[in-house]
């Protein structure tokens, strides 16, 4: 009984820590700097730039 509780507590703590670290990482990466943008960006359905398309980039 106690063992399983211990295990579950440990597990929840690990998951929580994971999410927390992810949060710290995203703040560091500047994900929270622009909270206006995503709502517009999600409407752009562009294809991701692939390496082949990059090589075709226009010159100035």
């Amino acid at each position: 009984m106690l063992k399983s509780i211990l295990l579950l507590i440990f597990l929840s703590f690990c998951i929580g820590t994971g999410v927390w670290l992810f949060f710290l990482y995203s703040v560091k990466r500047g994900e929270f700097d622009d909270i206006e943008g995503p709502k517009y960006r999600m409407l752009d359905d562009d294809e991701e730039m692939t390496d082949s398309s990059k090589s075709e980039k226009r010159d100035l």
């Binding site: 106690l2 703590f13 999410v19 703040v27 700097d33 943008g37 752009d44 226009r58 100035l60």
Partner: protein, 799 residues
């Protein structure tokens, strides 16, 4: 490169793969993409073909002179090297909507050498990663110039850097606290359940132990700002809210640690919760403050840092603006912002002064006119005489205002601070007394600590921030921005309200009130006037055209009219020269006008072929809701006051119409501020409502300044409340909301006190079982939060 290779819409080179051709009006046109073709069709469909003939689209020399400013040597200062790639921050002027951002990002990302470009929607900053062997910073800037945006290299100054760091830190602290508190809740719930249903001691100790682990960082890392604040307040011997919060959470924390080892009940949740909730409040508040100053920040950063100085021998050099001194002559190209205040020496242009005056329409400026730094030169190339060093310019003065506003104390609470001053010594005294009375008893220290814990300032600490948070949130929903929590409080204590007239009580849009035709009918006169004014964007011209449309009059839409700034407009027609303008304008053409002035109105006189035809009188109408709002305010016991720079007759008329008790006319901006200060000296708390740059001193002087949407940036920056829609009904709601929230705060504090009044004696006498203490603490906090949440439901009445 011949013109055939360029897209007719965006003037960018067309790559053969993407070529889109279309036949429009019998002409074969070439576009670089379908988007440009659609844009072209839309523009032409709206009858705006002229756009493609505009000078700034045609001349390449313009682009060259503009891009001359962006030499690599200068830009190199802003480039940062990171590993293999370089990065540069550019602030881009001219972004209006999401499509602009889409365009900028994609144009840049398609260029060789640019790895990524990302625009921040809120700040309009672009972060570009590029390979400096393939592309130079100047070339990047040139690309942006080519598609019509004006880039500006950008680096944060020390102050902004520290402000941004502080914000990130706050986010870190809050995120950590929130995560750990959630974990803690799980353990606490189990412990509470265990208390009532029974739990074996090993599990209990284990859970308590886990609770201690997760609480420690919340108290010492997330709560660090409070601990530091408490330490400073102790050193200065001025108890404040920080001390209260620190005392509450620390005493709960250490008591629980003690209880953990003596197998008592723990209160880690109390310690963690108060810190988490108050951090949430701070985060919310810092967001609101930033939003309020964002516009001015942008303006400051957009003002160019370099200017082209003209020398007497005709040569030009590019210099830093800080080197400019009054008397220097500089060249300002179309599309540039003026780097400092000055006077136009030669050239004429339209200037977008929206940032300074709030006027959305461009204003004509020519030789001899003064221009203000930060405004945008739209159409012509100018020679400007500098009248103020960059450090004394208008924009620099705004900058210092912004700094002052930001330096203002994070204003969660004046009231709670004052209470803390009394409450803390009281609690400490009671705890001491308890210890002394029980001295000798083995439980003496225990009882003393219980007093500290039970007198937990949870409810007291939450009373103000939660109410402020809910109220400012509710206000923001309805389009009212409070600059800080202290504003809510000072709003509630107001007794007088002073209004500016133009743009605040009136709409700033003149409308035709009467016509005095000399010959012919009113409609004929109006038709003539509309013909002359159809090409003009002046507010008076708009009023006339609106009236003509209302009467279903047909008038030819003309081009080629000549505007004489501040005087009127002239147009060559088949029937002779058509003039529309002021009395003085007609006098310049040797036409006599009869004196038929209407009080409070501006007259537009019309003459055709040397014959006077009559006058149209326009009046700036009061806002629809103004009368209702003011009568409501009067009923609520506010005394109202009208302060205007206009003539006394107009002021009296508006004051009578709106039942405003007092009015003062012909005031300069300084006079307005003086009136406010006199009232303050009399001990009255006064609010100023205004919109213009001329109200800014009064807005700052008043107890509370309120600016309307569409106000000039400087008015917005000087104001404490900003109404996001130009609707005076919002003002009434703001006042109501602030009164209501102060009442809620008082109720919260009263409840917190009652709770303490009951709990402390019980704890001091050693009668309070710790677990009931914990439950009571939780209930008192819930009561406070729930009471604050009631503010969400306050409904806005329509006026």
């Amino acid at each position: 490169m011949s013109n055939d290779d360029l897209c007719i819409h965006c003037s960018l080179p067309i790559s053969p793969v993407d070529l889109v051709t279309d036949e429009i009006d019998g002409k074969q046109l070439r576009f670089c993409c379908h988007g440009c073709r659609s844009a072209y069709q839309i523009i032409c469909g709206a009858g705006l073909n002229r756009f493609y003939q505009r000078e700034d689209r045609q001349s390449d020399s313009l682009k060259e002179t503009r891009s001359a400013q962006f030499d690599d040597e200068y830009l190199q200062r802003y480039v940062r090297k990171r590993d293999e790639r370089s990065e540069i921050h550019l602030l881009v002027d001219g972004i209006r909507c999401a499509s602009c951002i889409w365009l900028i990002e994609h144009i840049l990302q398609q260029s060789r050498g640019i790895e990524s470009a990302r625009v921040n929607f809120a700040t309009h900053r672009v972060l570009i990663f590029f390979d400096d062997e393939q592309i130079s910073p100047a070339e990047i800037c040139l690309q942006l110039i080519n598609i019509g945006y004006l880039p500006r290299p950008f680096s944060l100054d020390e102050l902004q850097r520290s402000a941004e760091k502080e914000r990130t830190e706050l986010l870190f602290r809050f995120g950590t606290a929130a995560f750990l508190s959630m974990q803690l809740m799980g353990f606490s719930l189990a412990l509470y359940a265990g208390y009532f249903q029974g739990i074996d001691p090993t599990s209990r100790t284990l859970l308590q132990f886990f609770a201690a682990i997760v609480t420690t960082p919340v108290v010492f890392y997330s709560g660090y700002p409070f601990l530091r604040g408490a330490w400073f307040s102790l050193r200065n011997r001025t108890p404040n809210m920080d001390l209260l919060i620190a005392l509450g959470s620390l005493s709960a924390y250490f008591f629980s640690i003690y209880a953990l080892f003596t197998h008592g009940e723990v209160y880690f949740d109390t310690a963690a919760m108060i810190i988490t909730l108050i951090l949430a409040g701070r985060l919310f508040e810092s967001g609101a403050r930033r939003k309020a100053s964002a516009g001015v920040d942008k303006l400051l950063q957009l003002t160019p840092a370099r200017a082209i100085r003209l020398h007497d021998d005709g040569s030009m050099t590019t210099v830093d603006c800080s080197q400019l001194s009054p008397g220097d002559r500089i060249k300002v190209e179309a599309g540039e912002r003026f780097p400092t205040d000055g006077r136009i020496v030669s050239g004429a242009t339209e200037v977008d002064e929206a940032a300074v005056t709030g006027e959305p329409l461009p204003v004509l400026r020519e030789a001899g006119c003064n221009i203000t730094s930060g405004t945008l030169n739209l159409t012509g190339s100018l020679e400007v005489m500098v009248t103020a060093a960059a450090a004394d310019s208008f924009v620099a003065r705004v900058a210092s205002l912004v700094e002052q506003a930001q330096a203002r104390k994070a204003p969660i609470q004046g009231l709670a601070d004052r209470i803390a001053t009394l409450f803390i010594p009281f609690v400490i005294l009671v705890a001491l007394a308890t210890f002394i009375i029980w001295y000798g008893h083995p439980e003496a220290l225990m009882h003393a600590i219980t007093v500290l814990v039970v007198a937990c300032p949870c409810a007291l600490g939450l009373a103000t921030p939660t109410a402020v948070m809910v109220a400012t949130g509710r206000a923001a929903e309805t389009g009212i921005l409070f600059r800080g929590g202290d504003i809510l409080e000072s709003c509630a204590g107001l007794s007088r309200i002073a209004f500016d007239k133009t743009g605040t009580l009136t709409g700033g849009k003149p409308q035709v009130v009467s016509m005095t035709p000399q010959t012919g009918t009113e409609n004929q006169l109006l038709q003539l006037a509309a013909t002359a004014e159809s090409g003009s964007k002046h507010p008076l011209a708009r009023g006339i055209i609106e009236e003509a449309l209302k009467r279903n009059l047909h008038y030819p839409r003309t081009t080629g009219s000549k505007t004489v700034p501040g005087r009127g407009i002239e147009l060559k027609t088949a029937n002779g020269l058509l003039l529309a303008g002021s009395r003085r304008f007609l006098a310049d053409h040797d036409i006599e006008t009869p004196r038929t002035e209407v009080v409070g109105a501006s007259a537009v006189h019309i003459a055709l072929n040397g014959n006077y035809r009559g006058a149209i009188n326009l009046k700036d109408q009061v806002r629809d809701e103004a009368a209702a709002v003011i009568s409501k305010l009067n009923k609520e016991g506010f005394s109202t006051l009208l302060l205007t720079g206009d003539q006394p007759s107009t002021a009296r008329q508006v004051a009578d119409l709106l039942t405003i008790e007092n009015w003062q006319a012909e005031l300069t901006p300084a006079d307005k501020a003086q009136v406010i200060e006199d009232e303050l000296k009399k001990g009255k708390r006064i609010m100023m409502v205004g919109d213009g740059i001329n109200d800014a001193p009064a807005l700052t002087a008043a107890t509370v300044g309120c600016a309307l949407a569409g106000s000039t940036d400087i008015a917005v920056e000087s104001a404490d409340i900003i109404l996001a829609r130009p609707d005076l009904g919002k003002l009434y709601f703001a006042l109501k909301l602030s009164r209501r929230s102060l009442r809620v705060i008082r109720q919260n504090l009263l409840w917190a006190f009652t709770y303490n009044l009951v709990a402390i004696p019980l704890a001091a006498s050693g009668k309070l079982l710790p677990v009931y203490g914990a439950a009571a603490m939780a209930i008192s906090s819930i009561c406070v939060v729930a009471n604050s949440l009631r503010l969400r439901n306050l409904e806005e009445e329509s006026c």
